[in-house]
Symmetry: none
Subunit: 154 residues, 2 copies
């Protein structure tokens, strides 16, 4: 069953070639929303993790910029555009539903052998599960789930 929002969570392996399976439900959501086998992945603004979007994101950002700045080209507009478009990468989903994590994103996102995908409605986050437990705690419902998934992986 799929939906228009990213919801649920999954912990998948990152192999030696930096490939990761995007959870099937997230893939369905992406394709339902955009009809495309592409996604955007970039560093999170505040958290030690990555953020994933579908390809509608850039268009919406451009609309926001145009509405907010109009024909006024100034430094704020440049800074905004650079931050919005410059840091996320556009990644293709292969036939098996995997992406390859660019090493730089893997690095800045703190990802290692396991990637925790967490749905968040319009977008989703990708965490190193260990970092997640560290940052968000193990006593929340999600924390307990992540703990179990982590233990199940040896």
């Amino acid at each position: 069953m799929s939906h228009d929002q990213f919801l649920g969570n999954a912990t998948n392996a990152v192999d030696a070639k930096n490939r990761v399976s995007v959870p099937a439900g997230f893939r369905d959501t992406i394709e339902r929303r955009t009809k495309e086998k592409w996604l955007l992945l970039g560093p999170h603004e505040r958290e030690p993790c990555l953020v994933g979007y579908d390809l509608h994101r850039p268009g919406r950002l451009q609309a926001i910029i145009d509405r907010r700045f109009g024909d006024d080209f100034g430094p704020e507009r440049d800074d905004y555009a650079r931050a919005a478009f410059g840091s996320p990468e556009k990644l293709p989903l292969d036939d098996n539903g995997r992406i390859i994590l660019p090493p730089i994103l893997k690095d800045v996102g703190g990802i290692e052998g396991l990637a925790l995908f967490v749905g968040a409605g319009d977008f989703f986050e990708v965490w190193n599960p260990v970092v997640f437990l560290d940052a968000k705690g193990e006593t929340t419902p999600l924390g307990r789930i992540v703990r179990k998934q982590l233990d199940a992986r040896k």
Copy 2:
């Protein structure tokens, strides 16, 4: 129009002949937008870097100028038009996806051995990565990425 924007970033080498590879994703965006293997590159108005566009940019700029100044043909309009159309160079992409950086642009843009390409939606910027870190800081998501790219190049 609002789809197919310049997204992501890359750090490429500038060789002794002033050749630089334009990141493959940017080349694709350019060709999808214009069906041409050409791009425009000029100094940035406000930042110590260069700006790159596809060949549709001049037409859109003309529209903006007409809308903004209307029938008012005065010195302001001339100044604006001169800045918009006078400085950028039209450069061909060779078979390997490279351009040759004109020495003047290289100089004006402060580019040396490495060129940092940053997507910004309708256009992209080309920075000396060291200058970028200096001007924009290393604590933003993009700053952290650039720092790592730079370190990875020794």
